[in-house]
């Protein structure tokens, strides 16, 4: 009987895919609508444009991203044995969004397991962390991770900060067990949750409804609230010793740092710890896309040759909970 496995765990991100909604919304359009001065979004938030859906659903977007990721991994849909949904949005409350995507992909193979992981904007990091253990234990072989945020239909123009910040997008990853001959692995993972710290108030009912998803809900009551400033203030406090506990390597060995793509502040914070040319951000083109932010940055880095196989990558984020997550992997 094997009693355990040692880090590094043999995790390989075998494939990446993304779906971008058709409609590009330049910051100038929002600045005009919200009576903000020209250039405000870029200066304050670091956002030039974002995508908003026209008629796409979460399942549709995840489906297209998944198809690209599966192809990128050199696999077919029938090779997937676990669908791990980490999306912040869902088309219907029931059944689970993971099953809605399985249906969209027309996999129709009962041997596929479906579930969702939710820890807000950090959900995709949790999928890498937990996925590595599942693959190491041999429980699953090929894991499809999905991450999607659709926030634009709930946008409130009376709250220009949130409304200019949020974007829609979907990203998918295929995770596999790295063969012995390859370097890809997960070196370390760490998560800390401090529920005393409040930051992201996000997604509360306007009328202060406590139970969000109830039969009495009127969708007019819902709006997104996002207080990035207070979240980052809390982050500074709790993040101080976090990286030293996470990192088993010297900082200068890390090729690329991917902070959460929620605001410009997140990457500015990492610039206090790492050279700015190693920090990858995609917020300029996509805005805050929730849990899809980390894999989107990874997707862009891999596609544009910013990272190659064998490179050491640190993914780091702070999000609702309040939680901090760190993942150190060799791509």
């Amino acid at each position: 009987m094997r009693t355990g496995y040692e880090y590094p765990l043999p995790l390989k991100i075998a494939g990446l895919g993304s779906y971008l909604p058709k409609r590009v919304v330049p910051s100038s359009e929002i600045e005009e609508k919200c009576s903000l001065e020209s250039g405000w979004c870029k200066r304050k938030q670091g956002i030039s444009e974002r995508r908003w859906i026209v008629d796409e659903t979460v399942s549709f977007m995840c489906g297209r991203a998944a198809e690209e990721a599966i192809k990128d991994a050199g696999m077919a849909a029938r090779d997937i044995d676990l669908i791990l949904n980490t999306s912040n949005s869902f088309d219907c409350v029931v059944p689970d969004q993971s099953i809605q995507v399985m249906n969209e992909l027309k996999i129709h193979n009962s041997n596929v397991t479906c579930m969702s992981i939710n820890c807000g904007c950090l959900s995709c990091l949790a999928a890498l962390d937990i996925g590595a253990s599942l693959l190491a234990a041999g429980r699953y072989r090929n894991i499809l991770v999905l991450s999607c945020l659709v926030s634009s239909p709930g946008i409130n123009y009376n709250d220009p900060v949130s409304c200019s910040m949020l974007g829609d997008a979907a990203v998918a990853m295929v995770l596999t067990r790295s063969p012995d001959t390859e370097k890809s692995c997960l070196h370390a993972a760490r998560m800390e949750t401090y529920s005393q710290a409040t930051g992201v108030k996000g997604f509360t009912g306007k009328n202060g409804k406590k139970n969000l998803f109830s039969k009495d809900i009127l969708f007019d009551d819902l709006s997104f609230e996002f207080d990035s400033q207070s979240m980052q203030t809390e982050g500074m406090k709790y993040n101080k010793n976090f990286l030293s506990k996470l990192l088993p390597v010297k900082r200068n060995q890390i090729k690329l740092i991917i902070p959460n793509q929620s605001t410009r502040i997140a990457s500015d914070m990492m610039k206090l710890l790492f050279p700015s040319n190693k920090i990858m951000t995609v917020i300029d083109r996509f805005g805050n896309i929730g849990a899809a932010g980390h894999p989107m940055a990874l997707y862009e880095a891999a596609r544009n040759g910013v990272i190659s196989r064998g490179d050491l990558v640190l993914l780091h984020g702070m999000g609702a909970g309040f939680s901090i997550y760190g993942i150190l992997l060799t791509y």
Partner: protein, 322 residues
């Protein structure tokens, strides 16, 4: 996965809301003939939360589980909320439960794992791998449900079937000398009958600008669910029992009535809490387990099977040496 793996359920706990809802009242309210709930759904009564929240009930159940595992709150190194219903979307139920436990400054990681009624099985599945990889040691799984918030009497089947309640377990490594083992985990998804249990909307309602009360309410097609439940349940039990005889099993927690109607096990070995509490989403598993352990119907060393059918349609179960 290399089974058996040295993992055990070290402790259990529950918390049920106070308000009891009897069949008579619901049948009258829905215009159903007396006896319908028991005959069609196998439910005699259920509890519906009035003021109790999901995180309050979850934390109460968790306290029981941690205490019965002989652990201290700070021994827990991962909190998993494994529930189908939501108290809030952001933050998720993990941190909400952490806060209710008074562990808001502990730093203990807290997340949510969901797969509808099968969320408990999914969280247990992940926990086994997380413990085997030595990522975590003592994992608290909390299934706490206020499903009544998602019920609409237009769909009498769902309205009468579901109840509220919370159950929790602590999962830990099992020592070599102990007999506790996880023998097998089986999980399946049959998405061709996705409409058997569904809600019309989620965030789609925003998109389509729909403002319809009841739009997120659970719609259960009990006839289809029962029919398919028997088919998928048979296959699930066959896989779980592969290498064992039905008589080898000391106790079976079968969560949905189609599974119980198959009569694979001796009646005295089969337990469920659905008749007393209704189907409490994912919480029915740990609630039934807790009561069975308390009543002495599940003892250390027993071969225990837990299985069920959920929205999706999903089928899943575990076989453990308790």
């Amino acid at each position: 996965m290399i089974y058996p793996c040295p993992i055990k359920i070290a402790g259990t706990g529950i918390c049920m809301p106070e308000q009891v809802m009897n069949n008579g009242d619901l049948e009258k309210e829905c215009g159903l003939e007396p006896g319908w709930c028991k005959k069609e759904l196998g439910v005699i009564s259920r509890r519906w939360a009035v003021s109790e929240t999901q995180s309050e009930m979850g934390a109460a159940a968790a306290r029981g589980a941690i205490a019965s595992a002989g652990l201290d709150d700070f021994d827990i190194d991962l909190i998993i909320n494994a529930s189908m219903s939501f108290e809030q979307k952001v933050p998720d139920g993990g941190p909400l439960i952490q806060k209710q436990l008074g562990l808001e400054a502990s730093g203990i990681p807290s997340i949510t794992i969901q797969s509808g009624c099968q969320s408990f099985i999914s969280a247990f599945d992940l926990s086994c791998s997380l413990i085997m990889s030595k990522r975590y040691r003592n994992i608290l799984i909390v299934s706490s449900e206020v499903v009544s918030a998602l019920l609409d009497k237009q769909n009498t089947e769902a309205y009468c079937l579901f109840g509220d309640g919370a159950g929790a377990v602590v999962v830990t490594p099992s020592e070599e000398a102990e007999g506790s083992r996880v023998m097998k985990i089986v999980t399946r998804t049959y998405d061709e009958h996705i409409q058997a249990v569904y809600s019309k909307y989620g965030l789609k309602a925003f998109q389509e600008n729909i403002n319809e009360p009841g739009g997120v309410a659970l719609q259960l097609d009990n006839k289809l669910f029962k029919k398919k439940g028997i088919e998928y349940g048979k296959s699930l039990l066959k896989s779980l029992l592969d290498g064992y005889a039905a008589d080898d099993i000391n106790a079976a927690i079968l969560q949905h009535s189609p599974l119980r109607s198959m009569k694979i096990f001796n009646e005295d070995k089969v337990m469920n809490s659905v008749s007393r509490y209704g189907l409490c989403g994912a919480a029915s598993y740990p609630v039934t387990l807790h009561e069975a352990v308390k009543e002495g119907r599940v003892k250390r060393g027993d071969l225990l099977l837990m299985g069920g059918i959920g929205d999706g349609i999903t089928a899943g179960g575990i076989l453990i040496r308790y």
